[in-house]
Symmetry: C2
Subunit: 151 residues, 2 copies
């Protein structure tokens, strides 16, 4: 089974923050921000005080980015990272975290769908005439026009 150390560049040049940003799609100030809140460890510095990274940084930052894209909050990611760093532990916590998150996503979808129906109704009812007879304004002005009242 091949590992990193089998590959040609077994001691690769450390990455600059800009290179890391390019490889992960995370902006430079955001990387520094993640370090400042402790999501990323403090990067080792060069003689001239520049941050250096390696392929481990790329993996960790991709993990963070992916989790953020999936809608996880930073606090949740902090917990997930701690679990990922400790692979011998039972994963019930990670599972629970993800399940809780899933429930949140589902309720967001439901609310957005109710919202979409309402805005759609609003738009389709518009007579394109005058504001006086415009459903958009009317619906916004009076909640009684709505199909749902739980938004």
């Amino acid at each position: 089974m091949p590992t990193m150390s089998d590959l040609p560049n077994s001691s690769p040049t450390p990455l600059t923050i800009g290179a890391l940003a390019k490889q992960t799609g995370v902006k430079i100030p955001t990387i520094r921000y993640y370090e400042s809140i402790g999501l990323l460890p403090e990067a080792p510095r060069t003689g001239s005080n520049r941050r250096t990274y390696d392929s481990g940084s790329v993996r960790r930052l991709r993990f963070i980015r992916h989790a953020r894209e999936l809608g996880f909050e930073v606090e949740a990611i902090r917990q997930l990272l701690a679990m990922a760093d400790d692979p011998g532990q039972p994963c019930r916590e990670a599972d629970l975290l993800a399940r809780t998150h899933l429930a949140g996503i589902e309720s967001r979808i439901a609310r957005l769908e109710a919202l979409r129906d309402e805005v759609r109704r609003m738009v389709e009812g518009c007579a394109q005439d005058q504001v006086r007879s415009c459903h958009v304004i009317e619906v916004l002005a009076d909640h009684a026009h709505c199909l749902h009242d739980r938004h």
Copy 2:
């Protein structure tokens, strides 16, 4: 056709900010915030400097609240309010605003659904064993596990 002035209390007591908050479901600091950013006009004050409101304020604030609940940004609401205040104008702008908003909602739903599928896959694949074999961590660590790559 009955109007306001036909009703018994034709000169109703002005509302306090607390009463307005209760009638609209908008919190007091939020009402003051809306005034500070110009969504609500500056409320007339009593001799002791307290804000006073009337039924028009209730309508306007409900309009704002409803639009916020529908996901409109404050800037959009500002435009919608300006249009609602000018009912003789053609409503193409309001319509366009709402249509743009609808498109935004629809794309948010689509992205959330992709996300939901992915988190669901993550959760369902979890062997409840160890982090080492946990799909939750695995999927987060490697985007290649994902069905979609456009989230």
